[in-house]
Amino acid sequence: MKKSFMFKGLILTLVFSLALVGCAQDSEPGEESLENEIKVGMVTDVGGVHDNSFNQSAWEGLQRLEEAGAKVDYIESQGESDFEPNLNEFVNDGWDLTWGIGFLMGDAIAAIAEQNPDSNFGIIDAVVDAPNVVSTVFKEHEGSFLVGVVAAMTTETNKIGFVGGMDIPVIKKFETGFVEGVKAVDPAIEVVIEYTGSFVDAGLGKASAATMYDNGVDVIFHAAGGVGDGVFGEASERSGVWVIGVDKDQSITFGHEVTLTSMMKYVDEAVYQVSKDFGEGNFEGGVRELGLAENGVGLPAENPNLSDEIMDAVNDYKEKIINGEIVVPSGI
């Protein structure tokens, strides 16, 4: 009998230690009171704030806001069931503006925004139709068009790969724009497309990159969040192959040896701008769409791997897209 008590005790201890871990990321609002200080929180999707991708970018935008005097914090979601509780944590603690980062959080933001009409929200990559939500979306197809041009002018095998995460509208925009960009340069180039069905399992990215490179692809553009880490991992073990990063300048993480360029999505800029407008009292629910013209997407400022010829072509196309000469289809 005694033994079984001890065992139950052991199990209980394990369970409680779990519960404690759940509380590790505590976001108690502080007591300090700067004048007109706004409190802006963000909830990541399952990628986490160091995903080398849009969650990290959004957090960098908030950190800029912090320098400007706001109070900022984040909560990372471990799964889709965490979205609503995490958003609620900020709302219930009285934070002024709460961001949901990523398309996957659209439904959660819609639900919480409806339950809390007096709180304000921002969402990246999804459109939520509510007066207290700013929906920030990007014209990914325009930026992807430009990296498609880069890929087409770089490839020597005339085979280019695209690795997508889940088959969802926002990723479809990357794919469509990218293929359009490639075809604009040379319609004969083959584009191999794979969706991994995940944004987190780097092993799947490694598998698809390995298969692509084995079959003669020499440039891969990934739009797959953490899965892309596997694409970079595979590329760094080979020579003569390139990866085009996504969302952030991924050469910072993976180096210029494998990173041809990146399709930047200035999530940081968007998060910063909207939050700043909010702090200045100019909050307006609705859709904000950022494309090449609004500097919402584009290539990084520095591109040591791209020749002048390529850069000229890119800038040429960019101008044509901005002035409407070329209309890039979004595919959705």
């Binding site: 033994k3 986490g48 092993g203």
Partner: protein, 320 residues
């Protein structure tokens, strides 16, 4: 020739994606052959992945990107796995607890503890930074340069270790006195005890071996595939390893092939998509392929899976 290259590359990728599964499945084999259910493989892999990532990262920082750091990470992971398997061993051997419950508890504890300590070590972030160094593939000069079959002569050191582990496990299990005792303890502990075999000690050793091997599997994933540790680094690999173990009928060589089969499903997924099968079949069907194959194989192809007779039954001194 193109088909040959395709098959060679598929083989190569299959081995890459199976290595971690083989380690964990062979680990589970030792534990289960001795009569202790080890559903904690998932948790032990998590601990191995976490330790491998963290130790490699900090050793790397201290040494400035040395090739030795992944090896130190790998060895630390084994040690951590052995230590982390002890609660399961103590609960199920000393305290005669339900082995499934204690294994599940260990799985929950592993992910909670790993994420908690990652947050402590990396400024509140739930994932480690990307490792500067990890295992590079070893290759045989000249042979590996061949355009068609070259990738057969390239492998991660972990894949080579894996084949040695399988062979050694086979020899230990079937050709040594220790292996005979281990199997005896798993089949009929009472008889083994009568013959003077220490059932408890044998089971402790078996569970610790399984902890070390499963952790090797976790570390392999981090050091060859993901290059960092997050909550999703190990997402079900331990359970797939467990399926491979049953599929392989608790036999080291068969278990290896079962794990290779699951690895091939991952590699095949990419090949099928990239060669245009999605023009005819929705992509979702390709995603479910590995799981579908698992069910089909387990349901029909292998016949009855004969588990060790004493599996899951705690041994009480003096019982019949």
């Amino acid at each position: 020739m193109e088909w040959l290259k395709l098959i060679v590359d598929l083989t190569h990728n299959t081995i890459v994606f199976s290595t971690a599964l083989v380690f964990a499945a062979i680990g589970g084999m030792f534990s289960e052959r001795s009569g202790v259910v080890n559903i904690a493989l998932e948790g032990l892999m998590i601990i191995g992945a976490f330790t491998g990532a963290v130790v490699t990262f900090f050793v790397d920082q201290a040494l400035g990107g040395s090739f030795i750091s992944p090896w130190i990470g790998f060895l630390s992971a084994i040690l951590a796995g052995i230590i982390f398997s002890l609660p399961h061993a103590v609960a199920s051997i000393r305290y005669e607890a339900d082995q499934v419950v204690s294994g599940i508890a260990l799985n929950f504890l592993a992910i909670g503890a790993a994420i908690y300590f990652t947050k402590v070590l990396f400024n509140g972030s739930a994932q480690t930074k990307t490792l500067m160094t990890s295992f590079d593939k070893w290759s045989i000069p000249f042979l590996s340069d061949n355009a068609i079959v070259g990738s057969l002569f390239k492998a991660y050191p972990t894949s080579i270790i894996m084949f040695f582990v399988v062979v050694i496990s086979y020899v230990v299990l079937f050709k040594t006195p220790f292996g005979l005792r281990l199997r005896a303890v798993g089949e009929h502990p009472r008889a083994a005890d009568t013959m003077g075999i220490n059932v408890f000690r044998t089971r402790y050793i078996a569970v610790m071996i399984s902890g070390g091997l499963a952790a090797m599997g976790g570390a392999t994933l981090v050091l060859t595939t993901t290059n960092n540790f997050t909550h999703s680094t190990i997402s079900g690999h331990g359970f797939i390893a467990l399926a491979a173990l049953i599929f392989g009928k608790w036999h080291p060589i068969k278990t290896m092939f079962a794990a290779l089969f699951f690895g091939m499903a991952t590699a095949l997924k990419s090949v099928l998509q990239q060669f245009g099968i999605t023009d005819f079949v929705p992509v979702e069907f390709i995603f479910i392929l590995p799981y579908l194959l698992t069910i089909l194989v387990l349901a029909g192809l292998i016949g009855r899976a004969e588990a060790p007779t004493a599996l899951g039954k705690p041994y009480k001194l003096g019982s019949r």
